[in-house]
Subunit: 341 residues, 2 copies
Amino acid sequence: MQESPGFIRVSHVLMYDTFYAALLKIGFTPEKASVCSEVFTTNSLEGVYTHGVNRFTRFIDYIQRGFIDIHAEATRKHAAGCIEQWDGLLGPGIINAIKCTDQALVIAQQHGIGCVALANTNHWMRGGYYGWRAVEKGFVLISWTNTNANMPAWGAVDSKVGNNPLVIAVPYQPQPIVLDTAMSQYSYGSLDLYKLKNEKLPTPGGYDQEGNLTDDAHAILETRRVLPIGFWKGAGMSLLFDVLATILSAGLSTAEITKNPVEHSLSQIFIAFDLKKLSNFSTINQSIAQIIADFHQSTPIENGKKVRYPGERIESTKQENLKLGIPVSEKVWNEILNLSL
Amino acid sequence: MQESPGFIRVSHVLMYDTFYAALLKIGFTPEKASVCSEVFTTNSLEGVYTHGVNRFTRFIDYIQRGFIDIHAEATRKHAAGCIEQWDGLLGPGIINAIKCTDQALVIAQQHGIGCVALANTNHWMRGGYYGWRAVEKGFVLISWTNTNANMPAWGAVDSKVGNNPLVIAVPYQPQPIVLDTAMSQYSYGSLDLYKLKNEKLPTPGGYDQEGNLTDDAHAILETRRVLPIGFWKGAGMSLLFDVLATILSAGLSTAEITKNPVEHSLSQIFIAFDLKKLSNFSTINQSIAQIIADFHQSTPIENGKKVRYPGERIESTKQENLKLGIPVSEKVWNEILNLSL
């Protein structure tokens, strides 16, 4: 995706150091600067550029415009057994999401399941990061966030629902299964990339001015009528994720977030399952191995092109980017190097 | 859908009585015959014919062939805080699903969240039924089931994943929000109906022999390459739902279920949230009302055709069917009347 004219490769070490220096300069504590730099770098290293390096300048911009309070940190407002309501106090989304993921694991260790519902937080960048964090500690994570209104309801032309990404992560050796998917077929970040490279989308991704389904990112960016996954089905799921995030966290809904000048003060849900509590814990990896073995026996459409499960390709992307450097648009990288802090 | 030549209207009272008599005759206790008849009738009354009246003869067939044990009932195998593992003992899916939904509510009342993971059960017919049951008692329900392999993984031609329906139900006055959606764009039941009526699908629903996306139900029924919602996204979600249902319940996976001669011995998850435990309980209905008010302000594609949230149309369908009778294919109804029991 990021391999083409105008793109360079930046080592993960240089990328981390660049982020870290910028965050220190803008006033982060060394500890929080380190955490945020690590997440932005890991997301990029693992191929999720749209929610890694490509969003760093916007993160800085939101801090400078006062939408993100770099010193605020989520705190617990209310606890009721295995569900807790936290207030993100408009702190950095990454810091808040890590804290709430970790707290969901703590609750799950006690109750079997732990749920943290987080209000007033900011963009978590890549939801999958928190899924990987949970599975590395042996927990299942189901998590989602609401967003501003960026997708039409089914049967509508204007955006009233968010694309509300969902993460489902399951520990599995040798390679965890981590799904990280927005309820729109393509994120605006992806549409921008396809437009930039003047490439057709692999599948229809939204509607053009005439109301026809199209694979032309440019046309979709004009109408902003992005396609929900499964037409009315994804639009419906998205509404439900917003309703749940809002009521469980006592936070803002997509409708309320959209009244803000930029996307901030989001509501998020983190639900962890402690597999060690189950009667069949010792055989779980083997059960998953059987499922995956059968899955991998699928007959591919293209000869030799084996099917992959969610998260399976990440390790090879990471290894390639560790070796060759992380691909970044020269323009994006220069903007980061030239940030006025 | 069911309004055309060859279709008749049957009153819900007659339908219930017909089911009830058949179930008594096949050996059900009066109590369980009543529960199953009520669910089959309600599903039909509320417009989900494919998982109501249209499946009744198959339910009887599976009982007669010994796949469903009409006297078995789910029992708890293991409890760990707010998560419990139950064994369905191959009892009727409806009876087991009701019992496990109700138990999830009991656990949620104690812990805030309650999860019952159910192994060795049978088809629950319409998952939404259990969502409605939970919301009527004031609880959120998130629930899903695995199925046999009926959908290809992304990039594959043969079916290796299930369409694993997901239910998300949220209490809301005046009309609950209940999403009930398979991970395939159309169920085989729907494809059969479109084929029967020789109508095009409203959106692409799968692939034809040449590997092209098509809205021709007949062509899709030939290849059995049904479209996952959101292409790779729904195929990925479906795999994760199967993995979770299997490992949390210690039950059979889609791969294992598919080895059976018919679809039985399924794994299901029921997760309830007790909203009364939350700090903002008293304002939740109002929060949802704000979301729905904004949602309803969407600009419709077709003038005057207001957008609807999941479950919103059910009440009017129900009222119509209560008044006019439930539409049923004459052929289906005659098969039910002529069952050899």
